[in-house]
Symmetry: C2
Subunit: 327 residues, 2 copies
């Protein structure tokens, strides 16, 4: 789908687009379960419904958007492959999506990425292009791959098809838990939150949507209030999936549909992550723990409500857990 | 149910008893999901169906047997409470079951048990009785509690109602995956394996059952071959839930229904546990990883088969994981 509408405004998907995406990706992604946990309900004072995207292909919801983008390409476009920059789950997701369509994927990664992440993207069949760990070097490398290959850029979140794909998790969540009062998702670049918000508000207009981000990376909260994309300084947060800044496109969708953006302390993020492992017996990554962290710190009021929480992913380094002292 | 039949033989449940147990416990335990994982299927060369008893109340299948035993008591018996000895999941399970019936539970635990385990049993409302960490001291303490209180002893596995309760997981597994060729469970004292074997063979006579235990605690394999309860020396295995020895009762059920007992190295147990966390994004304890460890080491031949695996529990110390070096 073109990224700009005929009237010049930034394009966004609607519920029909998201339902079409849901059909398009069905054969390539998991329908993930919705789990509940009385111990966490008691800790929060609400009824929580966890959409387990940590069980999704490549271990994160990002598979949805990447598959939708790759399978939305024409055959001619697809023949030249796809390219993106990501040191995280989107790179793996695009590699996975391309492998399902049998086309090439190029992933530009900073050369200081963890070896396991580089190997993982390579194992999914993508070509990894390492660059210096800064935005300028990344742009240069991306542009060079685009020129050399004619591949299509699939941005991690500032892309209509990606946003539509991310919105499909909310469609499933509301099929499985159709009386929700609230849905909360993590917000980094805003692809998941904007897709979720568009889908959920269309299906269930009275529902309240919240984004959750680390207090150390609160650009979405500031942008939500100011109406502008707010710069984010290089941030230190354990929730490494949420260091991106929202784009004008995702911010527009968020401001139109979301009740608020909450923040959580680093401490609460680690505590929420550990509680989820201990009480639910599932592995989630720090970014996925941020909504529960906001609930534990009471930065969102959900007293007695039925609350959907999208557990965005489960990719962690099992050699060192955030509650363990640094060796 | 009495522990000895009128003809003097050791009593065992049949499928009707297990189905009655299933109804009896339904309001107090979780119907746990059955999950699949392509990465593990590929590693093993079979289609695996994981019954997630790590999601069960108190984090282990033991809730099933304990609830069935407690709710099988007459009101007069129940009024005096229940007692058991356990440093592990059965103690927590009995405490939980008693709390659901509103009766007293006494749990005899060795004084060197992990503080978190003692606190956990206490938090479930049971009275903890600490004793010296040896069998003689345990017997003395148990007998004293029995005399003082008139409570009913609920043995961790050598008990017909407990075995019947443990068999209910297999009933659910075969409802959700009704074409299984094989089921594998861990075997320690043999309660889970004997209940599973009786239920599964009655529902699906052609199914093959296997027990899986650490090579370092191979008493079930030796007993399976010799036909006698084989002593087990104090053993060093990371699978701390599987250090018990089978009883004459569980061994009889196992020998009548099970195709074989396989063993796994400590290395393979740790590897299987980590693979399950990484690939399935779920938290399982070492004992629960033993069946997959046997499959990874090819000590059971399941090539191309549909294999049910009971993931017995998910209670681990998240401060130190077995693949991490000792500090």
């Amino acid at each position: 789908m073109p990224d700009t509408r005929s009237d010049g405004a930034l394009a966004l998907p609607d519920l029909n687009t998201i339902r079409a995406a849901h059909l398009r990706i069905a054969a390539h992604v998991q329908r993930t379960p919705v789990l509940t946990c009385r111990a966490l309900d008691a800790a929060v004072g609400a009824s929580l419904y966890f959409k387990c995207e940590n069980f999704q292909r490549i271990g994160a919801f990002k598979a949805r958007g990447a598959v939708n983008a790759v399978f939305s390409l024409s055959d001619a476009e697809a023949a030249n492959g796809v390219v993106t920059h990501s040191s995280g789950n989107h790179g793996a997701a695009l590699a996975y999506a391309a492998s399902r369509r049998g086309i090439r994927a190029h992933v530009v990664m900073p050369e200081d990425s963890a070896r396991v992440k580089i190997d993982n993207v390579g194992a999914l069949g993508a070509t990894v292009h390492l660059c210096a760990p800064n935005v300028a070097a990344r742009e240069v490398m991306c542009n060079q791959v685009l020129r050399d290959t004619g591949a299509t850029l699939v941005h991690p979140f500032d892309n209509v098809d990606v946003i539509a794909g991310q919105g499909t998790a909310a469609v499933e969540l509301l099929e499985d838990a159709d009386t929700l009062d609230v849905i909360i998702t993590p917000v980094g670049g805003g692809g998941l939150l904007s897709g979720t918000a568009i889908a959920a508000r269309s299906i269930r207009p009275a529902i309240r949507l919240y984004g959750a981000e680390p207090a150390n990376a609160d650009d979405a909260q500031r942008g939500f209030r100011s109406g502008r994309v707010e710069p984010v300084a290089p941030t230190r947060t354990i929730a490494d999936g949420l260091r991106s800044t929202v784009s004008a496109r995702t911010l527009a969708a968020i401001r139109a549909n979301v009740a608020g953006i909450a923040t959580a302390s680093e401490d609460a993020i680690v505590r929420a992550m550990r509680m989820t492992w201990e009480k639910m017996k599932i592995v989630i990554e720090p970014s996925a723990a941020v909504p529960l962290a906001c609930l534990l710190e009471r930065s969102i009021d959900v007293d007695g409500a039925r609350v959907g929480v999208i557990l965005s992913g489960g990719n962690v380094d099992l050699d060192r857990l955030p509650w363990q002292p640094t060796p």
